[in-house]
């Protein structure tokens, strides 16, 4: 049973992150000591409710919002669903047209599929070769019936930083109220987010991408914005998320946000250094690679994504895993649909090259040593797999 080896270099922070020690410490008292239920009025319950209110305050500060504008959910996916469908259903009578892009996270796309089956019309704006949304097409696509625009501030696969402020300006220029949702799950604590400066109505966040616990999300909802709940039941703190809250998880999310926010500049600088070290190392040591997404400032400091031609991504991923390096892949073989990543397809990558895509996602908890270790291991893995491939890298 040597297969499930000791991990040496975890570079799949875009998928999930380990809970930070300080975060777990902050959560612990809420399991056995302050275990009260927020809805009740005696002492224990008060402590639970106040913990949630403190958490709202902390999270709201990191995005320049107000505490009461934060609703906690059970994951980022639930925040997205609530934002997009909640706003669409609430504005059904004003129009049935929704705009997003063709490089959104599967959660956004599946919510849009559902809306299409409910009779809404969804347009997917194209992106350029770097994954940047086509603002001209956006302008042309907005019409009288448009009620909602949803865009991610950072693409989770190829790291493109979208010009969400320009998207926001275009949306606001329309004169009438169009809801604007930003999926900030991949961008949170990697790029600055300011809901006031952006003028965004809704914004989705998830705890487990910033060293918080899995199964906790948040939705920012601008004061006065009415959306339709998707779930029903008795209300403890928020009518948009009925039932008993994951109090410890919410406290953990707030702690993770506080930690990352306090060290934001330092963390970004560190991730940028690691990103450049990794990219430089790959480009120096490897052949027949292709970078996905932009270079420089338009790229998230956390994202590195290359295709290594002639080898299949799942095989790369599992071989790297055997060496203790964790990455993700855009290969079809790692998905249920057996289709290559829709994001790579959208930026014009041929399927046979998309299958080779290997994504490293960096966190502020990574070290230069981990980058160097990955760089030591990678060439051997790729060379090995190329040797057993019937396809030549130079032919792709």
């Amino acid at each position: 049973m040597l297969y499930w080896d000791q991990m040496n270099a975890y570079f799949d922070n875009g998928t999930t992150t380990p809970v930070a020690k300080e975060v777990l410490d902050a959560m612990l008292p809420y399991f056995r000591e302050n275990f009260g239920h927020p809805i009740f009025i005696y002492s224990l319950g008060q402590e639970a409710a106040e913990a949630i209110e403190r958490s709202q305050k902390i999270i709201s500060r990191t995005i320049n919002a107000k505490p009461e504008e934060i609703t906690f959910t059970s994951n980022g996916t639930e925040s997205i669903d609530l934002a997009i469908r909640g706003a669409a259903y609430a504005n059904r009578r004003k129009g049935n047209h929704i705009i997003t892009t063709n490089v959104e996270n599967p959660s956004v796309l599946r919510v849009c599929d559902k809306l299409e089956s409910d009779g809404f019309k969804v347009d997917y704006i194209a992106v350029d070769k770097q994954g940047l949304v086509d603002l001209d097409q956006l302008k042309k696509t907005i019409n009288d019936k448009t009620i909602l625009v949803s865009v991610a501030n950072v693409n989770d696969e190829i790291g493109t930083v979208q010009p969400v402020d320009e998207v926001a300006r275009i949306v606001r220029e329309q004169g009438r109220k169009i809801f604007f949702h930003v999926n900030a799950i991949a961008g949170y604590m990697r790029v600055p987010v300011d809901v006031e400066r952006l003028g965004v109505d809704m914004l989705s966040l998830s705890a487990h991408k910033i060293h918080g616990p899995k199964g906790v999300g948040a939705l920012y909802l601008r004061k006065g914005t009415r959306i339709e709940p998707l779930n029903y039941g008795y209300v403890s703190m928020s009518g948009l998320k009925p039932g008993t809250e994951n109090v410890a998880g919410i406290v953990g999310f707030a702690k993770a946000a506080e930690l990352a926010s306090d060290r934001f500049d330092r963390n970004v600088k560190k991730m940028l250094e690691l990103r450049e070290r990794l990219m430089k190392g790959i480009e120096e040591r490897m052949s027949y690679y292709l970078l996905h997404g932009p270079r420089g400032e338009k790229r998230s400091p956390a994202n590195v994504n290359y295709s290594f031609k002639g080898v299949e991504g799942e095989a790369i991923l599992l071989r790297l895993d055997l060496e203790g390096v964790s990455v993700a892949t855009g290969s079809a073989c790692s998905t249920r649909k057996l289709e290559p990543s829709h994001v790579l397809t959208a930026i014009g990558i041929k399927p046979e090259v998309a299958h080779s895509a290997t994504r490293f996602t960096i966190s502020w908890q990574n070290t230069p040593e981990e980058v160097d270790y990955a760089l030591d291991v990678l060439p051997g893995v790729i060379e090995n797999l190329r040797k057993i491939s019937p396809i030549k890298a130079e032919d792709m």
């Binding site: 299949e312 046979e352 491939s389 019937p390």
Partner: protein
């Protein structure tokens, strides 16, 4: 697939498959094979090549190359391992089931990988029969 059931089993590998992927048998180019066959489609993310060395109607050696995922590589190794030492007649009777069972099964979504290895084997055997005529 029904929404109410967990979908993970659709992708999960057996320990035996993982072991075979880690140390795949019979992988690599073969010098002077008796027959070679290619299957698969790079655009679909898989391509497979099989080499057989056949002496007196007995498969004395089998090797393969794969541009594919772990299931692809493991089924290639399993297939070549099974045919080695068999006569061509025996090899023609091999079923996909034998291949997958030798790996303790494949996740449903990866069955096409076993099909690919199996099809390449059949093609190689056909090529051999044609050569004999």
């Amino acid at each position: 697939m029904p929404a109410e059931y967990t979908e993970r089993s659709l992708l999960k590998y057996s320990q035996k498959l993982i072991e075979m992927f880690k140390n795949p048998k019979n992988i690599g180019e073969m010098e002077n094979p008796t027959v070679t066959a290619d299957e698969g489609d790079v655009q679909c993310g898989d391509a497979f090549r099989m080499f057989l060395k056949i002496e007196d109607n007995v498969i004395v050696d089998a090797k393969f190359l794969s541009f594919g995922c772990a299931a692809n590589i493991a089924t290639g190794a399993a297939t070549t391992e099974i045919v080695k030492g068999k006569t061509v007649d025996e090899a023609e009777k091999i079923t996909i089931k034998e291949i997958t069972e030798s790996l303790d099964g494949l996740p449903p979504l990866k069955m096409h990988c076993a099909t690919l290895a199996f099809k390449t084997l059949k093609k190689a055997l056909e090529n051999y029969r044609k050569m004999q005529k």
